[in-house]
């Protein structure tokens, strides 16, 4: 009984983590999907000096829709693991990009996280992305925890 309450608390926490991370990604995608917003996002991507300028429109078009799809997949328990994988991969890439451009190259640039008017790329951006990554992972493992314990026979 106590174990059931504990496992349902973990599941509630898993859902909350999923909702929080998905909510942020949906908000971030919204700022990059409109007509002028996609073009502005392409400019933010070019400022990182990672992708050659000729090709910056490609991630500017695709990435926001990947964020929407991954966020929705994260909310739905059946597709949560797939959504978390996509979100996790994107967050790792974003953290690496900020570390390279803002710290290694020393560029003072907007992170482009939420489209126009985004905060400056730096430690806060990395910290926020690490928190989101932890939330995405937690949403999967806390949700799967009761099933794992039953499988092990605990």
């Amino acid at each position: 009984m106590i174990e059931q309450r504990a496992s349902s608390k973990k599941q509630i926490l898993a859902h909350l983590c999923a909702l929080a991370v998905a909510g942020y990604f949906l908000f971030a995608a919204y700022g990059k999907i409109g007509h002028g917003d996609a073009r502005q996002f392409a400019i933010e991507i070019s400022n990182y000096k990672i992708i050659p300028p000729a090709y910056v429109n490609l991630p500017a078009v695709f990435m926001p829709w990947w964020e929407v799809a991954a966020a929705i997949a994260l909310i739905v328990p059946a597709t949560r693991r797939a959504g978390a994988s996509i979100i996790g991969a994107m967050l790792v890439a974003f953290i690496a990009a900020v570390a390279y451009s803002a710290f290694y190259l020393g560029l003072k640039i907007s992170c482009g996280c939420t489209g126009a008017g985004s905060s400056e790329a730096g430690w806060l951006t990395i910290g926020r992305n690490v928190l989101l990554l932890v939330g995405a992972i937690a949403s999967v493992y806390l949700y799967a925890w009761p099933a794992k314990r039953q499988a092990i026979g605990a």
Binding site: Q40, N57, V61, F62, R81, S118
Partner: protein, 183 residues
């Protein structure tokens, strides 16, 4: 594991399809960006007819590169009021001081400000637009200029590369600097 990977692939494929449709029907962005004129390229070296080594003329420091304008040109246009000036810095920097008449178009929110600020003042695509930002090393003016040429079809956009750093350091701009909302 296989099911998981298939699900990831399916999600990416579906969202990529939506992105393709969105760009085809709505954004209409080039998939691969072409180079736009006024890129500030150096002229190609000319090969003499006898096959000797190509002659490369050293750049004339008094003549601006293509797509750029120097301080004398900026002052001429300020005095004659013959150009629209665009300030590509951040709001705080603009409020502290900007060129008289300069329109605020921050590089991190171009597509909101160009139609609502620059074009609202009556700037036509054939008008001379001079864009500046903080210093020779900042990219903001280049980003705004590129957007004006590429996405708003402005034909005559020049970048004042040395920007606010030179404006502040020079005493030639005293009559042309204003603060806050003053224009």
């Amino acid at each position: 594991m296989r099911t998981h990977l298939l699900m990831v692939a399916a999600i990416l494929a579906a969202s990529s399809t939506v992105a393709l449709i969105a760009n085809t029907t709505w954004y209409d962005m080039e998939w691969i960006r072409r180079e736009i004129g006024n890129t500030g390229k150096q002229p190609e070296p000319t090969t003499p007819p006898n096959g000797d080594n190509p002659i490369v003329e050293p750049p004339d420091p008094t003549e601006p590169e293509e797509g750029y304008i120097l301080v004398d040109g900026v002052l001429e246009n300020l005095a004659a009021e013959s150009a629209f000036f665009v300030d590509a810095r951040e709001q705080d920097d603009y409020d502290e001081g900007h060129l008289r008449g300069a329109i605020f178009v921050p590089a991190d929110d171009i597509y909101e400000h160009v139609p609502n600020s620059l074009m609202a003042t009556g700037a036509l695509v054939t008008d001379l637009i001079i864009v500046y930002c903080g210093s020779p090393t900042c990219d903001a003016s280049h980003n705004v200029a590129d957007a004006l040429r590429r996405d708003f079809s402005f034909e005559n956009v020049l970048i004042y590369k040395n920007g606010w750093e030179e404006i502040e350091a020079s005493d030639r701009f005293e009559d042309y600097i204003v603060e806050g909302d003053e224009s």
